[in-house]
Symmetry: C2
Subunit: 204 residues, 2 copies
DNA sequence: GTCTATACCCCGATAGAC
DNA sequence: GTCTATCGGGGTATAGAC
C-alpha cells in the first residue's frame, strides 16, 4: 500500500505532510481555544507529530506557528466566500446563504467552531505584531472578495467598498453573538438585514 | 484626611473597596488579554490587593472572578448605550454617535480596549458554562436597550427586536475589525450603514 | 526529519500566621 | 480581611542522539 499510517489525508486522498498537519491542528485548536489556551504539546499530539518536528518547521516557536494558523484560517474562509459568491449571482441571496452556512458550521460543531482567526487575533492583540498583521490581511482579503461580487452586481465602486466593510463586520459580529448565545438567531437575522442593505444600493 | 492611600477611587472621590478594585482590574485585563492570557497574580497586583484577598472574595477562583468581570463589562457597555440613546432621540443619529464613541475609546487606548466581554467570552467558549451564561446575558441586555429605543422612535415591535440583534452584532464585529486593523474605518462605516438600515424601518 | 529528555519558569490554588 | 510561603503541575523552548 502507498500510505502506511492513519494520519490525516487531503481531499485527493494523499497523505498530508507533517508541516501541513501541524498547521491544520494549530488553526483548529486556536480557533476553539484561543492562542493562550492552546499548548504546543497539544498541537503536536493532535497532529500526530512530535515536539521536535514542530520546532523543526517553526523555529520561531508558538508565534510563528500562530501566524501560519491564521493564514490557514484566512484561506479557509476565503474559500467559503468564493464558493457562496460564485454559486449565486445575486449578492443579497449569496449573503443569506453565507449566514446559513456559518450557522450550520456552528451548530454541527456544538458552537465550538467560530471564525478561524478571531480568537487567535483577539488573544494576541497588541503584543504580537506578526499575528496581528496576518489577521488584518485576512480581513482585508475577505472584504475585497465581497466588494468584487457587489461591483459585479452593478453596485457603484465606492458603495461596494464600504458595503464590503459592513458585510464582514456584521458576519463576524453575528457569528460571535451566535456562538456566545448558542443560537442561530443572530446569523439568520444578520443575513436578512445584509440582503436588505445590499439591495438598497442596487441600481433599478 | 479621610483616605490614606493612593488606591483607585470611584467618581464621587470615595476610596474603592478591595472587592471592587479586584473586579475592575480583572475586567480591564481580561478585556485586553483574554481569560487565559491574564493571571490572577497580575490581577491582584494591578488592583493593589494580595492573592489572599482575591481568594477571600472569590473562593471559586479564576472562573468566579471572570464571571464578575464579565458582569462588570456588561454594565459598563450598558451605561454607554443608555447614555447615547437618551442623549439623541433619533436612533439613527444615536447609532452613529455610538460608533464614534467606540472608535475613540479604541484609538485613545492604542487599540487595546475593545468590547469588555468579547475576549473573555471567546477564550472560554464551550468550557466554562458560568462565564458563557454571563456573556450571553450581557448581549441580551444590550439588545433589549437598543430595541426599546427603536420602538420609542416608532419602529414596529418585531422589526425593532430584529434590528436590535443586527445592531449589536454589527457593533461587535466592527469594533473587532477596527481593533484588528488598527483603523477607525470599520466603525465609521458601520455607523452609517446601521443608521441607513434603521431609517429604512421608520414610519413616514 | 524525527524522537526523548529535560531545563526553567510561571500558573492556579492552598495553608496558616496575624 | 490581609499577607507570605509554598505545593504540584503544566507551559515554552532547547539539546542532542538517531
Amino acid at each position: 500500500m502507498r500510505t502506511k499510517t492513519t494520519k490525516a489525508q487531503n481531499d485527493r486522498g494523499e497523505a498530508l505532510g507533517t508541516r501541513e498537519r501541524v498547521v491544520r491542528a494549530a488553526s483548529r485548536l486556536m480557533q476553539r481555544q484561543g492562542y493562550d489556551g492552546t499548548g504546543i504539546k497539544q498541537i503536536a499530539q493532535e497532529a500526530d507529530a512530535t515536539l521536535g518536528s514542530v520546532y523543526h518547521f517553526f523555529p520561531g516557536g508558538k508565534q510563528e506557528l500562530a501566524v501560519a494558523a491564521v493564514r490557514h484560517g484566512d484561506e479557509e474562509f476565503a474559500g467559503i466566500l468564493r464558493e457562496v459568491l460564485h454559486a449565486e449571482p445575486d449578492p443579497a441571496r449569496a449573503l443569506v446563504a453565507c449566514c446559513r452556512l456559518l450557522a450550520e458550521g456552528l451548530r454541527t460543531s456544538d458552537w465550538a467552531d467560530g471564525c478561524p482567526v478571531t480568537a487567535t487575533a483577539l488573544g494576541t492583540a497588541g503584543r504580537a505584531p506578526d499575528i496581528q498583521r496576518a489577521a488584518a490581511e485576512a480581513f482585508a482579503r475577505w472584504r475585497s472578495l465581497v466588494a468584487e461580487a457587489l461591483r459585479a452586481a452593478g453596485i457603484a465602486e465606492t458603495d461596494a467598498a464600504e458595503l464590503a466593510h459592513t458585510v464582514i463586520s456584521t458576519l463576524e459580529g453575528a457569528e460571535l453573538a451566535a456562538q456566545v448565545s448558542r443560537s442561530e438567531e443572530p446569523l439568520r437575522i444578520a443575513g436578512q438585514h445584509l440582503a436588505r442593505l445590499a439591495d438598497s444600493y442596487r441600481p433599478r
